[in-house]
Amino acid sequence: MEIDLNRSLMLDGNALAGVLQEIFSMEMTASPTECAHCGYEGEMGTLLAFVCSPGLVLRCPSCENVILRIVQTPDAIYLDARGAAFLRLTR
């Protein structure tokens, strides 16, 4: 399947460090995660970020499937993490 990732507007997980820290109350970009689709494991800073859309999307740099979706409204933050096999929160 050919996915148009619009790479010219692409960033990476580092660009979402602020919103991730807001959600998890800790620095997350150096934290490992695993892609539920292909098993890629890497720091969240290495994920591909798409931010020019109503929500924020993080994709796997290996298979390019969606790992995380974040939608912010005035009242709440919605987090869809079904593309991640795990997230790691340091104790």
């Binding site: 507007l9 460090a17 620095e27 720091e43 931010v51």
Partner: protein
């Protein structure tokens, strides 16, 4: 490390023109905490009707500077935040920001491996924080900065890079010009390729830790070339600079 991040009102202390399209803004922070070189701050602008725009900018200054930070910002065409910073700000203004943020693209002077920094355009900003931190901390790890710019007038921090090189025999800065080169230039004048990376890395005695920051295409191409040349993936850190500095 286990903390949320609060917004604070930073005070603009100074503006410096770096290139025709790049300015450095010095902000005084009421709630300053030392950053790690490579980290960034989020800036949030709020319009009278409540509309908000938010972008993330790398810190350019070294963490040894207490109470204030430099953010170097490139003016982006139609960029709502960079345009306001460049054209709407005067010294003394208050700006909402939060940080320092990020923990992946960071370097600390205590790390002892040689350092390979590769920057494209304004992607040099977090790398400059690393070079300034390296100098302030008295580190002498062998370091190479390979800095790709389109034209001579777009070189950010040109004079200070010269000074840093003069002050540290273990630091070399190599420029490559991709569109227009200075008259009489005998250095690199092409996009970064395997041969160039090989020449830049050859004098380093052992495997370097690499930090690559710039536009996506440069970052991906350099990271791929470094992997092909045998550098282990865990020694390569990347940060992509978007056309708008990156919403957060």
């Amino acid at each position: 490390m286990q903390r949320g991040i609060e917004w604070q009102a930073a005070i603009l202390k100074a503006i410096r023109l770096e290139t025709p399209r790049v300015k450095t803004f010095t902000f005084t922070l009421p709630d300053w905490t030392p950053h790690r070189a490579g980290q960034h701050y989020d800036i949030r602008l709020t319009a009278p009707d409540g509309y908000q725009a938010q972008r993330s900018y790398s810190v350019a200054s070294e963490p040894e500077r207490v109470g204030e930070i430099d953010l170097t910002v490139e003016l982006v065409e139609d960029g709502e935040v960079s345009t306001f910073l460049h054209e709407g700000l005067v010294v003394g203004d208050l700006i909402e920001m939060r940080g320092p943020i990020g923990g992946y693209f960071v370097w600390e002077a205590a790390q002892s491996e040689p350092l390979l920094l590769v920057g494209g355009g304004s992607g040099v900003v977090p790398l400059m924080a690393m070079l300034r931190h390296r100098a302030a901390a008295g580190s002498n790890v062998p370091t190479r900065l390979l800095y790709s710019v389109r034209a001579p007038m777009e070189v950010i921090y040109a004079a200070e890079l010269d000074e840093l090189v003069r002050a540290s025999p273990d630091l070399k800065v190599l420029l490559t010009f991709t569109r227009a080169k200075p008259q009489g230039w005998e250095g690199y004048a092409r996009r970064i390729d395997q041969a160039m990376l090989g020449e830049v890395m050859a004098p380093l005695s052992s495997t370097p830790r690499a930090y690559i920051c710039g536009p996506t295409l440069l970052v991906e191409s350099v990271a791929t070339l470094l992997l092909q040349s045998g550098l282990p993936r865990e020694l390569i850190r990347t940060e992509r600079f978007g056309p708008s500095g990156g919403p957060a």
